[in-house]
Structure formats: structure tokens, C-alpha cells
């Protein structure tokens, strides 16, 4: 069953056949890279929130010890990849093309590779008897992320798969990027462990079928995997045609199942769970060996390195150390590409560390990259002639020539109408372009612009809403004030009207009372005058006080009188 070669496959649109350069790095078995003097662990090695450091400078850490903890649902734990002392927690250059810095934990290694007392997790050797929740918890604890390059936290992905009904569990061993062979070598050497890892996930999500997709340019890996799952009717190893980018999970899903993952949704919603073989191996290690994600297989290859091969590399190993392990640089080395030549990115320096995302360190040179077309090496970019080669190569069936046209005209709305956001940035269009236009750069730029515009738009909307609310509030207050005033006025008018009604009766009395009050005041004043004259001998102070009091009393009275009048 597992050696099913007549499995029905679907065709994807487009794709290209670049020179794959796989042989260079598959001549030797996977080697342990060893322990560098320093390990640098950026706290952000995954999609989601950065992990939160749990250690302080000077702390002694053991291998496998949790040094930074996931502090959000979408985040991942980071463990010390070897034993040593924390020498710094600071902003260091990340493996990123911009030379961007990020908080990193630096371990000065002691070379003992000491797991300490409680370094490894308890092992679940009979995982089929373990509750899936416990397995999921372990996967989360072990800091496993998608090692195919997406570095999305695996526990979150599997949790999503558990909530949906998974029809097909796809194990991605296509590895379509040129030069990269880490998955190939892993499948050749660890096929039994990978199959065990697959069974763990099967136990957790109960998929209807389980397909391992491997490009047919990896016969050794296919054979190894077929042997490893020979007696398992539920796991099929499928040869898929060698075409870039068949290893993109969207494309591989189409090839294996005919299903297209709807735009803007996640694959689990379409009943598909895809996992890279490297990730599956990490799951196996976490469950069966009790080891967190502290190392990965990294391909070190290219004309810029003496001995291209694959290494089991400790997380946080600097590129420079890995290059030394591979015999050092050749004279040609002038490029360091993290990932493959189609989708990877160039690093300006070899000091940054290998992280969970680093599947390949391609040391190469400008001439080596262009050897396939050396005669045109220095040809400038020409205008687009709309030949449509990009359209024929696009695996998503976009119109790259039209996108380019609209983006050049800064008509981003049109670009969106041409489904810019469905572009997977695989680079096929740039690869085939006879005018050598860096098309993907245009798309990245436009996507960023659109994102920025949307953020700006949202901000503008928010402040407009605020402003509108302010105006509304002012208006409301004004209205309320006016209403109050009007109500008051109405009340007064009513009162007045009432007063008018009763006016004839009360008028005389009122004037009388007024006259009385004045008379009374005058009388009081007179009396006081007399009193004052009498008390002329008493102190000035008392006199003054009295006067003040009198005056204020009088004025108060007067006020009262006036009020009554109104």
C-alpha cells in the first residue's frame, strides 16, 4: 500500500525548472556541527510574540533548559541548546537582510553539553496510549515550530487541526528549492523516526489519509521512507514531479489532493494539515526522546564553501562557525543566502546565528549564481514586453505582467484587483523574465505600501471618528445647554404669566413690603447712627466691624428684596 506509485496527481499551473544543485551537499551523511564558543538565541525565532527571557546574566544553564518562555498563544519556547553561562541578554544583529537587531540571549558555552539533573522531558514511548492533550502540551513546551521555513508554532497549528476535521495529513518532503537538501538527508537517515512522528500526529488528529509528498529527484529519500512505512496501510509515500515551487504547501496540496486552499483561509479549514518532515522529526524527538527543539538540520552549500554538506546544528550557532565546520570559505564566497536562491534572503554578515528557521546557508558568488546565463550576466533591466512568460510560470495563475504595470503606475487598487495578495513571492516570474525585471521586489513593495496605506487608513478612520464624535459631543452639549435655557425660559415665562395673573392682587402688597423694607433699613440705620454716637468711646475696631456688618446686612436685605421683586 505504502509504495503506491500510481497515485493520481493533479497539475499545478506554471512552475519552473531551475538548476537544482542538490548533489553537492548530499555526498556526506549528516554531521554534528559541534559546540561553538558562543550560542546566540534571539527571543523571536518564530511567527508570533517574542518569548520572554527567564534567565539573567551570570546564570548557569543546562542543555535543554527553558531560557525564554512563550508569553502568548502564538509564541514558542526557546531552550538552551547546550550548557554554559549566560554572558549577555542584549540587542544583537538578527539573521535578517536589513541587519536588524533583536533581543538575544548569549550563552558562553562550557563544552560539557550537560543536560543537568532534569534536562530532558519524560518520554512517551507508547504515545498511542497518551492523551492527545498531553502530547500537544509537550509539543508546545518543546518550542516546536514549522521547520520548513514558516516557523509557525506547531502546537497552535495542530490545535487548529484538532478543532477541524482533517481529511488529509500532508507530510511535506518535496523540498523544491534549489541547493537545499536538509529534508532529503533527514528522510534518508531518520525515516523510521519520521514515520513514528507521523503516527504521533495521526494519533492526535485522526486524519482520513496521510500522504508523504517527495519530489522524484530524491530517489534515496523516497526509498527510505517507503521502507519505513512499508507495513502501514495508512501512510502513502507519493512521488511528485520535480518542479519549483511544488514544496509550497498550497501547491503540494493541489498536486496531492486536487484541493485548492481558498484564498485568505488556513489549510486546516480546508481539511488539510501540512507538516514539514523536519517538524515531524522534532515532534518525534520531543515525544519519544524527550528533547526540546534545540537543533535542526542545516544545509551548508554553494561554491563559496569548501565542503558542502548537512549539519545537525545547535540552535544559535553562528554562520561563521558553521562555515568553519564545512572547511571554510573558498575565494569565490561573496554571498551568504539564508534559505534557497529562489526565496531566501542575503545576509550582510556571518556573525548572526542559525535559528529554527535556517534550513540552508548558501555561500556562493555572483558569478556562480549566474553561471547558467553568464553571457547575459551584466545585462541591464529592460522594459517589460508583456511576453507573458511570467504568467506561464506563475504557480498561482496571476498576471505578473499586469501587476507590474499597475504597480509601476502606482495604481495599487488595480494591483489588488489583480490579486496581488495571493502572490506567494516564489520568484518564478523574476526567474523567467527575459527583461530581467525584479518583479517580486515590486510585489513586496506594493504589498507593504498597501499594508501601510491600510494602517494609515485605519488610523485616519479612527481619528475621523474621534473628531466626528467630538463635534457630535459639542453639538450635543450645545443642544443640551440650549434646551436647558429654553426650559428655564419657558419656566420663567410661565412664572411671569402666573405672576401677571395674580399681579393685580399682589402688586400693592409687594410695593408695600418694599417700602416697608426700605423704611426698616432706614430706621435701622438711624438707630445705628444714634448708637454709634453713643458708643463713640469704644474702640475703632469694633466700630469698623459693626459698620461693615451693617452695610453688608443692608445690602443683603436689599438683594433679597430685589429678588422677591423679580
Amino acid at each position: 500500500m505504502s509504495t503506491n506509485t500510481s497515485y493520481k496527481l493533479w497539475k499545478i499551473h506554471g512552475g519552473v525548472h531551475p538548476p537544482f544543485h542538490k548533489e553537492e551537499s548530499t555526498q556526506h551523511p549528516i554531521k554534528r556541527a559541534g559546540i561553538p564558543k558562543q550560542i546566540i538565541l534571539p527571543i523571536q525565532q518564530h511567527i508570533g510574540s517574542p518569548a520572554e527571557p527567564l534567565v539573567a546574566v551570570g546564570d548557569k544553564v543546562y542543555k535543554g533548559q527553558l531560557v525564554a518562555k512563550a508569553n502568548a498563544h502564538i509564541s514558542a519556547n526557546i531552550h538552551a541548546s547546550t550548557s554554559g553561562t549566560i554572558s549577555a541578554i542584549e540587542e544583537l544583529v538578527l539573521p535578517h537582510p536589513s541587519g536588524l537587531k533583536g533581543l538575544s540571549i548569549v550563552i558562553d558555552t562550557d563544552g560539557k553539553d550537560d543536560w543537568g539533573q532534569s534536562g530532558k522531558y519524560s518520554t512517551y514511548e507508547s504515545y498511542n496510549d497518551v492523551e492527545p492533550e498531553l502530547l500537544l502540551k509537550r509539543i508546545q513546551e518543546a518550542g516546536i515550530v514549522g521547520l520548513g521555513g514558516a516557523v509557525f508554532p506547531t502546537s497552535v497549528k495542530i490545535e487548529g487541526a484538532e478543532q477541524n476535521e482533517i481529511d488529509t495529513f500532508i507530510i511535506n518532503g518535496a523540498e523544491c528549492e534549489p541547493y537545499i537538501t536538509c529534508d532529503d538527508m533527514l528522510m534518508r537517515e531518520k525515516s523510521a523516526q519520521i514515520v513514528a512522528g507521523i503516527r504521533i500526529v495521526q494519533h492526535m488528529i485522526n486524519p482520513k489519509k496521510c500522504l508523504i509528498g517527495i519530489e522524484d529527484n530524491k530517489p534515496e529519500a523516497i526509498q527510505a521512507m517507503q521502507q519505513a512505512c512499508e507495513n502501514d496501510p495508512n501512510i502513502n509515500v507519493i512521488n511528485v514531479p520535480t518542479i519549483y515551487p511544488s514544496g509550497d504547501i498550497k501547491q503540494l496540496t493541489k498536486i496531492l489532493t486536487g484541493i485548492e486552499i481558498p484564498s485568505g483561509t488556513r489549510s486546516v479549514n480546508a481539511g488539510i494539515l501540512g507538516q514539514n518532515v523536519g517538524t515531524i522529526y522534532s515532534i518525534y524527538q520531543a515525544i519519544v526522546d524527550g528533547i526540546p527543539t534545540i537543533s535542526r538540520i542545516t544545509t551548508v552549500t554553494g561554491k563559496g564553501i569548501q565542503h558542502p554538506q548537512n549539519f545537525e546544528t545547535l540552535n544559535g550557532t553562528p554562520f561563521s562557525f558553521l562555515a568553519e565546520q564545512a572547511g571554510g570559505y573558498t575565494k569565490m564566497a561573496d554571498h551568504l543566502i539564508m534559505g534557497g536562491p529562489m526565496m531566501g534572503f542575503a545576509l550582510p554578515d556571518d556573525k548572526p546565528p542559525i535559528t529554527k528557521a535556517t534550513n540552508c546557508a548558501l555561500f556562493t558568488s555572483t558569478t556562480a549564481l549566474r553561471e547558467s546565463n553568464s553571457e547575459f550576466a551584466n545585462q541591464p533591466t529592460l522594459p517589460c514586453i508583456r511576453c507573458g512568460k511570467c504568467m506561464d510560470a506563475c504557480p498561482v495563475n496571476l498576471l505578473p505582467q499586469q501587476l507590474y504595470w499597475h504597480i509601476r503606475a502606482k495604481d495599487l487598487e488595480k494591483a489588488e484587483q489583480h490579486f496581488l495578495n495571493d502572490c506567494i513571492e516564489c520568484g518564478c516570474c523574476s526567474y523567467v523574465c527575459p527583461s530581467h525585471i525584479p518583479l517580486v521586489d515590486y510585489y513586496r513593495f506594493a504589498k507593504n505600501e498597501i499594508r501601510d496605506q491600510k494602517i494609515a487608513q485605519e488610523k485616519a478612520n479612527l481619528s475621523r471618528e474621534r473628531h466626528e464624535f467630538l463635534l457630535f459631543r459639542k453639538e450635543r452639549e450645545k443642544r443640551e445647554r440650549e434646551e436647558k435655557r429654553a426650559a428655564h425660559k419657558a419656566a420663567l415665562q410661565k412664572k411671569k404669566a402666573n405672576a401677571k395673573k395674580n399681579g393685580d392682587k399682589n402688586n400693592g402688597a409687594k410695593t408695600d413690603s418694599k417700602a416697608d423694607a426700605i423704611k426698616a433699613a432706614m430706621a435701622r440705620a438711624k438707630a445705628k447712627k444714634e448708637q454709634r454716637e453713643q458708643e463713640k468711646k469704644t474702640t475703632d475696631k469694633t466700630k469698623k466691624e459693626n459698620t461693615v456688618k451693617e452695610i453688608s446686612d443692608a445690602s443683603n436685605k436689599e438683594k433679597e428684596v430685589k429678588k422677591d421683586e423679580v
Binding site: G264, A333, M342, G344, I385, Y431
Partner: protein
């Protein structure tokens, strides 16, 4: 150690604009050879002169626009334009008329719109349209088809005629109408039927020569399809539509309408279908759009040939459809991965 940084993808295939254009030129050669054989050295002289004019004008335009001259001359697009225009005009045409055509093609239709890649109209066909409107008489003077080295004028003689060194020949004696022209004027002049015209010896002679030329161009066109320089949609839809319309009309009244053979194999139909309408810059670019574009060209070719004022109509049919290209392209976007069967344009905006 420090490294260079640029962006992915880091390598590219060896396809190249010059290679594409060179392959187009190679594909033109068989048809051109047969045409020289049938219509004499004048064809070759036209091509050479046209290329000289085109490259010189292109260089001047690039200089004036402060663009790098060598890479853009090296893309060979001007050579292709010149070649196509030269094949469309009669041999022994005075050189300055050819020059006017090339001037309009390269300067007006191409560089005033922004040069390679920015011209909305097919430059060669703009050049041809200007000539056929301005010099209808000169452009109808096709010499009688014959055999190179026997009935046709020699190389020196042809060159001298083209350059105006020797006075133009007595046109009436050596020229004849092209088959399409003959049918049109014949039917208008009151000839009883298409069959009557077709029986004339000159006519069948000329038609035969055009059939051979067309077959040779078709060979080149098929080779371009094989090499994936052009897509199948445009040539196929032009030929199918034109064949369908001419076939229907011929069935309806074989007396008064030319046969599908006449329409497909004479004039510039094959050359137009494989080499002119497929000019990627000015043609529709989507797969479905190409079919609509090609079918409309086939339709207009027939309409203009039969009911219009000009004997042949590739240029006008192509130019008319060039105008419709932006709209066609917008409404014929292919279905994108992960979108339903019919992706509406508005859907993209909401994303």
C-alpha cells in the same frame, strides 16, 4: 566576513529579450526566402533598407531621450519592426516612402509613447497604415510574381529602382494586382463571379506564389509556438475566425465572395496571424483575452477586406483591436489559485 546583499530570487533563467527577438527573426527567414524567390531582390532590399532606417532612427530617438543606446539597439525589437514593415510593402517601392513608414513606426508609434514596451499600437502596422493612406497607388504596385533570376529584375536593377537612380519602370508592364486586390476591384468592376476572376492565369499564378510564401511563414510561426515564443491562442483564433466567416460567406454565395483559401493564404494573413498580431507589447496578454483579441482581428480582417476600401486589412484590424486591449485584459483575468470558479474583479479589492 561581509557579504553582498540583494533580493531573491538570486538567479534567473537565460531567457532574454534579444534572444526572443532573434528567434522571431529566425522564424521570419523561411517565408522571407520564398518571398524573395517569388518577388525578387526588391524584397531583400526593402528589408535591408528598413533595418538601416529603423536602427538609425532608434539610435537617434534613444539619444534624444537620454536612454542607453547599445542595450536598447541590442534588444533587436527595431529590427523586427523594420522587417515586418518591409515584408508588408511592395518590392521596388521608392526608398523615401519606406523611410516615411519606418519613421512613423519607430519615432511616432514607439518612442513618442515611451519606447520598447510602452507602445499601445503595433509600430509596424502604424507605419503601414500611414503609408497605405498616404501612398495608396505606390503601395498597390506589386510586381508580377515570377522566378528569381528569370523574369524578375536583377539585384542592381532593383536597387537602382528603389533608390531612384534609374527612372521607375513602366509599372503597367511589370506589375499586377495582388489576388485580394484583383478580387475586390474585379467584383466591383462588374466581373460576373469570383470563379471567373480566379480562372485568370495571372491570378492563379499570384495566388500560388502567396500560398507558398504563407506556408513558409506558417512554418516559422509553428516553430515559434514550439519554442514558446508566442502562445497558440492568437494565431489560432485569427485563422479559425477568418476561415469560418469566409467559409460561411463562400457557401452562401460562391459567386461573389472569395474562398477561405484565398483569405487565409493570400495577403498578409499568415504573416499577420503568427508575427504581427502576436506582438506581445500591443496584444492582449491573458489567455482568454488573446482568444477574444485574435477572433476579433479575424472578424475585422474579413469585414474590411470584403466591405472596406482597402484590399488587405491586417494593419487596420490589428490597430483597432490594439485599442481594446486594456479593457480585454482587465475583464479576462484568469482564475487565481484558491479563488472560486469565477473570480469577480471586485473580490480582489475586498481582500
Amino acid at each position: 566576513m561581509k557579504f553582498k546583499t540583494n533580493t531573491s530570487p538570486f538567479f534567473s533563467s537565460n531567457s532574454n529579450v534579444s534572444t526572443v527577438m532573434l528567434q522571431v527573426i529566425l522564424a521570419l527567414i523561411p517565408g522571407t526566402l520564398v518571398m524573395i524567390y517569388s518577388y525578387g531582390w526588391g524584397v531583400l532590399i526593402n528589408i535591408i533598407l528598413a533595418i538601416i532606417f529603423a536602427v538609425a532612427l532608434e539610435a537617434i530617438a534613444l539619444f534624444a531621450r537620454k536612454r542607453p543606446i547599445l542595450p536598447f539597439i541590442g534588444d533587436l525589437s527595431a529590427v523586427v519592426t523594420a522587417w515586418l514593415l518591409a515584408l508588408s510593402v511592395p518590392p521596388l517601392l521608392p526608398w523615401w516612402i519606406l523611410f516615411v513608414g519606418i519613421f512613423f513606426a519607430i519615432i511616432i508609434a514607439k518612442h513618442l509613447y515611451g519606447g520598447l514596451g510602452y507602445n499601445p499600437f503595433n509600430p509596424a502596422m502604424i507605419g503601414f497604415a500611414v503609408l497605405i493612406v498616404s501612398f495608396p497607388f505606390e503601395l498597390s504596385q506589386w510586381i508580377e510574381a515570377g522566378k528569381l533570376g528569370s523574369t524578375l529584375p536583377g539585384f542592381i536593377e532593383s536597387l537602382q529602382t528603389t533608390l531612384g537612380i534609374t527612372p521607375p519602370p513602366d509599372w503597367d508592364a511589370i506589375t499586377m494586382a495582388t489576388p485580394l486586390d484583383a478580387v475586390k476591384t474585379g467584383l466591383r468592376a462588374g466581373a460576373t463571379s469570383y470563379a471567373e476572376i480566379a480562372q485568370q492565369k495571372d491570378f492563379s499564378n499570384a495566388l500560388n506564389s502567396w500560398i507558398y510564401i504563407s506556408l513558409a511563414f506558417a512554418m516559422g510561426g509553428l516553430w515559434m509556438l514550439y519554442k514558446k515564443i508566442i502562445h497558440w491562442q492568437i494565431p489560432t483564433s485569427i485563422l479559425v475566425t477568418l476561415g469560418l466567416f469566409s467559409g460561411l460567406m463562400y457557401l452562401y454565395s460562391p459567386e461573389s465572395y472569395g474562398s477561405p483559401i484565398l483569405h487565409i493564404f493570400s495577403g498578409a494573413t499568415i504573416l499577420g496571424a503568427f508575427f504581427i498580431a502576436t506582438d506581445p507589447v500591443s496584444a492582449s496578454t491573458t489567455p482568454l483575452g488573446k482568444i477574444i483579441y485574435g477572433a476579433s482581428i479575424g472578424f475585422f480582417i474579413y469585414i474590411i477586406r470584403v466591405w472596406g476600401n482597402y484590399p488587405d486589412s491586417i494593419a487596420f484590424a490589428v490597430l483597432i483591436m490594439n485599442m481594446a486591449v486594456p479593457m480585454i485584459d482587465y475583464y479576462t483575468q484568469p482564475r487565481v489559485y484558491g479563488h472560486g470558479k469565477k473570480p469577480s474583479h471586485k473580490k480582489g479589492v475586498n481582500k
